[in-house]
């Protein structure tokens, strides 16, 4: 079955096992779930061992016929882009299951929770590895249902609303994406006479401008909702706030990455012309999202909502990095995706712990907790600083590289015709950079309100407010170790992804140039506007 098959299906087997254990045996459920996810993590380390970082393409592929009459293959493969995202997934799930707060305060139905988490893990890993559009779609939807139940069963007071909103938002995007996939399938059949849902084959297809724009729109909508890109983000604060801690960790840590991963893997390489035409809009929205998310985070009184909005801001950086179309920008985006998974996962774990101790998330209710919970306070400080982007911790490298990428994007943006809208990438980079300062403001303010100041509220003196103990120490220890490792040894990660990123960029640019040679192809969504702002259309020449 291959390593990839095992990684993908192992959690599902574990879920089946957990289901067989009688309902009362909660510790067995926890143990089995944890064991399965740890086993999955260990197997996924084999990916690292077997991975050949000199090779830009897909590796360790498995390709089995699944639904033959429609040409659907169970095709999985890993490259430098998906490698670390899979590892992030297999890393975060056991950490979440280890955390005693994962289920949240309604500590009920451990069996179902474990099953949901494991099925979710299969969905996530499968969607990262899928190289067949049908398989990708199935895994993509497979993530939806467990997450729906995780929010809906174990969530907070408004969990029904949040769960439904999450599902409906995601479905609107993904079903339109399905129409686009079907369209590609039909076009491929018309062009070649054979039929396939294979990613590699479908992405060779060059569509005319308008269909390309529509297909890109469908894919981009699905991914933009997932990221989420402003103004499609409104499901996120609801889902995050209502989800139990474990749900929030996975949602922020992994699920949001599917949006940005989707842009990298599907939306940009498959529809280069449309992507180039829409790039100014996406850049604009990502910058708006960066600032908006940061400002919204700053005014929140609910710690969980604050972290949720900080995700909007941080993911904006990722989108900006990808759209910079420069090697450091995309590498930085990838790095930021991992770092955000670790640091925001840690933040949600911390907020979950606070809620567990105090049954409140209002910042005004805390204060002076440093004295009560020194170990936790220290751990949380490290995670907060990682999220702020302190050098030496994971958050710094990604943001830094994204900003470098944006600052040096002049040439690339001229090639793709973005300079009409954004004459100076440096300006865009400058605006985005200001969000780093905002991040320090809102996160450190949160930290200050929680842990510093006098311990003046009687509830906070309660003996219930205990410091980290038992498994909690392990959870935070592991997260901090990961944040430190990522901050100190970025080359471990970057060296394995750079070939794939390079291949992505050159492939994108080559295809764009080919498409632009076609005299019929406009490079803008609004050709008339472009003609006004650019007196002479830039020739597509220059060395790529």
């Amino acid at each position: 079955m291959g390593v990839l098959g095992w990684i993908t299906l192992l959690p599902l087997f574990g879920a089946g096992l957990v289901m067989l254990v009688p309902r009362e045996e909660e510790s067995i459920h926890r143990g089995l779930g944890l064991a399965t996810s740890i086993a999955t993590f260990l197997v996924s380390l084999l990916l690292l061992v077997n991975f050949d970082s000199a090779q830009p393409g897909f590796q360790m592929e498995i390709n089995k016929t699944w639904i033959e009459p429609l040409g659907i293959h169970f095709h999985l493969g890993v490259d430098g882009i998906s490698l670390w995202l899979v590892l992030l997934t297999t890393f975060l799930v056991p950490v979440t299951l280890l955390s005693p707060q994962a289920i949240g305060i309604r500590n009920i139905r451990v069996r179902e929770f474990t099953v949901a988490m494991l099925v979710l893990e299969t969905g996530m890993i499968g969607a990262f590895l899928a190289l067949d559009m049908f398989v990708f779609y199935v895994f993509w939807e497979l993530m939806l249902i467990p997450m729906y139940f995780i929010i809906g069963i174990w969530g907070g007071d408004r969990r029904l609303y949040a769960a439904i909103k999450f599902v409906i938002y995601t479905l609107v995007g993904s079903l339109l994406m399905l129409v686009a996939i079907l369209y590609l399938y039909v076009q491929f059949k018309a062009a070649t006479g054979s039929f396939s849902f294979d990613y590699a084959e479908l992405s060779h297809l060059t569509l005319p401008y308008v269909p390309q724009l529509l297909c890109f729109g469908a894919f981009a909508l699905a991914f933009a909702i997932k990221v989420p890109i402003f103004p499609l983000h409104t499901w996120l604060p609801d889902a995050h706030v209502e989800a139990p801690t474990g749900g929030s960790v996975i949602l922020a840590g992994v699920l949001l990455k599917f949006g940005t991963y989707g842009f990298l893997r599907f939306a940009l390489p498959m529809f280069p012309l449309a992507a180039a035409a829409c790039a100014p809009l996406i850049v604009l929205l990502s910058v708006v999202g960066i600032i908006y998310g940061a400002l919204m985070a700053y005014v929140q009184d609910d710690a969980k909502k604050l972290v949720a909005y900080s995700s909007v801001s941080h993911l904006g950086f990722v989108v900006l990095g990808i759209m910079s179309m420069t090697a450091p920008g995309v590498q930085g985006a990838l790095y930021q995706m991992l770092a955000h998974g670790i640091s925001t996962g840690g933040l949600f774990l911390g907020v979950g712990l606070l809620y567990d101790r105090r049954h409140t998330r209002r910042l005004a209710d805390f204060g002076g907790l440093w004295a009560k919970t020194p170990i936790f306070a220290a751990c949380f400080l490290v995670i907060v600083l990682a999220s702020v982007g302190l050098p030496g911790l994971c958050g710094f490298i990604g943001e830094f590289m994204v900003l470098i990428g944006t600052f040096t994007a002049d040439k690339v943006w001229r090639e793709v015709g973005m300079h009409n809208f954004f004459p100076a990438p440096k300006l865009v980079g400058g605006i985005a950079a200001s969000a780093v300062i905002l991040a320090a403001m809102y996160l450190l303010t949160m930290y200050q309100k929680t842990f510093f100041g006098p311990l003046d509220k009687p509830e906070n003196r309660d003996p219930h407010v205990r410091d980290l103990h038992g498994r909690e120490k392990w959870v935070f220890g592991i997260v901090i170790a990961a944040a430190l490792f990522m901050g100190l040894f970025p080359q471990t990660f970057l060296s394995r992804s750079d070939k794939s990123v390079e291949a992505f960029l050159t492939g994108y640019r080559d295809r764009l140039h080919d498409a632009q040679k076609d005299p019929e192809a406009p490079t803008h969504v609004f050709p008339a506007l472009a003609a006004k702002t650019a007196p002479a259309p830039t020739p597509a020449g220059g060395t790529p």
Partner: protein, 493 residues
């Protein structure tokens, strides 16, 4: 023109059901309350035998064969759907007896009627002539009318039956009237092949179109397509729950089988499909309306049976997309419709099976809120219901998902239908909202009162079969896709 009895063997699966029905009728006169339970098992045996016969016929049916001077035809499509009808009858006979006993109106004729109804459905999809089509539709419908009203103590059952009967009588009127017009304009043709041969000259007369539309209206009544769906919610709500499942799955599948054959073989000529008065454009509008209104109406329902009734209206809309695609020359559209129907049959029967399972005589639990806490109390049944709901909503890994995927794929092969596919997927989003309302009740709310389901082994077996079938159809659809017909053909135009 002589009657050749040996040709009857080709219809052994159908005749077996009729014979078994008669046996049950006879046995009923001798049955006591205790031994009556065995009558349903006779019916189950009949269905199993019928399916076995269908399997044995499969190999010979690669090319269509007509019998009785072109009245009936045996081909792969009809056998495929026959198997679905026999399965639907079988599952109904698993779900019905405990339900009837619980509600206190078990009688043997009920089981016989289920078999007669299934035989009528088979007739509809075998029909290659207006006369046999009419006989099939009437056999199926009469059984369904009586079954709907079989719960004599229930006012709602009577109301549903009378509405269904009156509307159905109207539909039959349209059907026969339409047939007469076509008979007149084609110079005395009643067989599909004969009509197709005369279309060139007959299509010049408006009366021919009127006849065609009248027949379409009658069939739209049977599949409950908007605006001919008014009877569906009341009938579905009033009928005894296993009957509702049987109707929603079987009658709809049979009517669609009939439509696909009729539109393809009698009215398949491009001048009838494409013209400004062509049925493709009419049915596309009908499909869009049916999906949208069905789903929007379902959003507001509190009664699960009504909710599922409107959802079944919406499903008729999705299926009409496939019919239109088939008319526009997409070769994989017909197999897609067939696969969808099979997936839908299992899903619907399973869903109504759970609805039948959950209620007791005193406490029918038909409101969405009545299902609160089912997930915690009975996880296995709740899981099965979740699968059915996901399948109805078209979410993987279920048969409903693959059916929809296959259907939409077929429709995309015709460029004119892209808009309809977009309408379809947006409708799916709406539908997921109300399907999940049931999941919300089952899993996210706490029980208000203790559960007292009809917990009989045969019901459990039925639920197990349907749930497994839904998952198998979703994960390993290849075989069923192959059986349904060629999937890989390219759009002809």
């Amino acid at each position: 023109m002589s009657f050749d009895p040996s040709q009857l063997f080709a219809y052994a699966p159908m005749l077996l059901l009729v014979v078994m029905g008669c046996v049950i009728l006879l046995a009923e006169t001798f049955a006591t309350a205790r031994s009556r339970a065995g009558l349903a098992w006779l019916g189950v045996a009949g269905c199993v035998g019928s399916i076995a016969l269908l399997v044995s016929q499969w190999g010979d049916a690669a090319t269509p064969v007509t019998h009785f001077q072109g009245m009936l035809v045996v081909d792969r499509m009809s056998l495929y759907l026959d198997a679905a009808f026999a399965t639907a009858a079988l599952l109904t006979l698993l779900f019905a007896p405990p339900y009837l006993r619980e509600q206190g109106f078990e009688f043997g004729e009920f089981y016989a009627l289920v078999l007669f109804g299934a035989a009528g459905m088979m007739m509809v999809v075998h029909a290659a002539n207006f006369v046999s089509l009419l006989i099939g539709i009437e056999t199926m419908s009469l059984a369904a009318y009586v079954l709907t009203g079989s719960w004599r103590r229930s006012l709602k059952s009577a109301e549903g039956a009378i509405k269904y009967f009156l509307m159905g009588a109207f539909a039959t009127g349209f059907l026969v009237y339409g047939m007469a017009m076509i008979y007149g304009t084609t110079g005395g043709e009643l067989s599909y092949a004969g009509i197709a041969g005369k279309v060139g000259s007959a299509a010049k007369t408006p009366l021919f179109y009127l006849g065609e539309y009248f027949i379409l209206i009658a069939l739209a009544f049977k599949v409950a397509a908007v605006p001919f769906h008014m009877w569906a919610p009341d009938t579905y709500e009033g009928a005894p729950t296993p009957v509702t499942g049987f109707m929603a799955a079987g009658v709809k599948a049979a009517a669609f089988g009939g439509i696909v054959r009729l539109m393809g073989e009698a009215f398949g000529n491009p001048i009838l499909v494409y013209d400004s008065t062509g049925w493709a454009s009419i049915l596309s509008v009908l499909a869009a309306l049916t999906m949208t209104l069905g789903n929007l109406a379902a959003l507001r329902q509190e009664n699960i049976k009504r909710l599922l009734a409107y959802s079944s209206v919406a499903h008729a809309g999705y299926l009409l997309i496939g019919v239109v695609a088939a008319g526009l020359g997409v070769q994989s559209a017909k197999p897609a419709v067939l696969f969808y129907l099979v997936g839908y049959t299992f899903t619907t029967l399973g869903a109504f099976g759970v609805v039948a399972w959950i209620g007791s005589r005193k406490d029918e639990r038909l409101l969405v809120d009545d299902w609160a806490g089912l997930g915690a109390a009975r996880p296995a049944v709740a899981l099965a219901m979740t699968l059915f709901l996901l399948s109805l909503g078209g979410v993987p890994p279920t048969g409903g998902f693959f059916g929809k995927f296959y259907l939409f794929k077929a429709a995309m092969e015709s460029p004119q239908l892209t808009w309809l596919v977009v309408v379809g997927v947006l409708n799916s989003v709406v539908s997921v909202y109300y399907y999940l309302r049931i999941a919300v009740a089952m899993y996210f709310k706490d029980a208000t009162r203790p559960l007292s389901p009809i917990d009989s082994p045969s019901m459990r077996a039925g639920l197990l079969i349907t749930a497994v079938a839904v998952v198998v159809l979703g994960l390993f659809p290849s075989t069923f896709v192959d059986w349904a017909g060629p999937a890989s053909a390219i759009a002809a135009r």
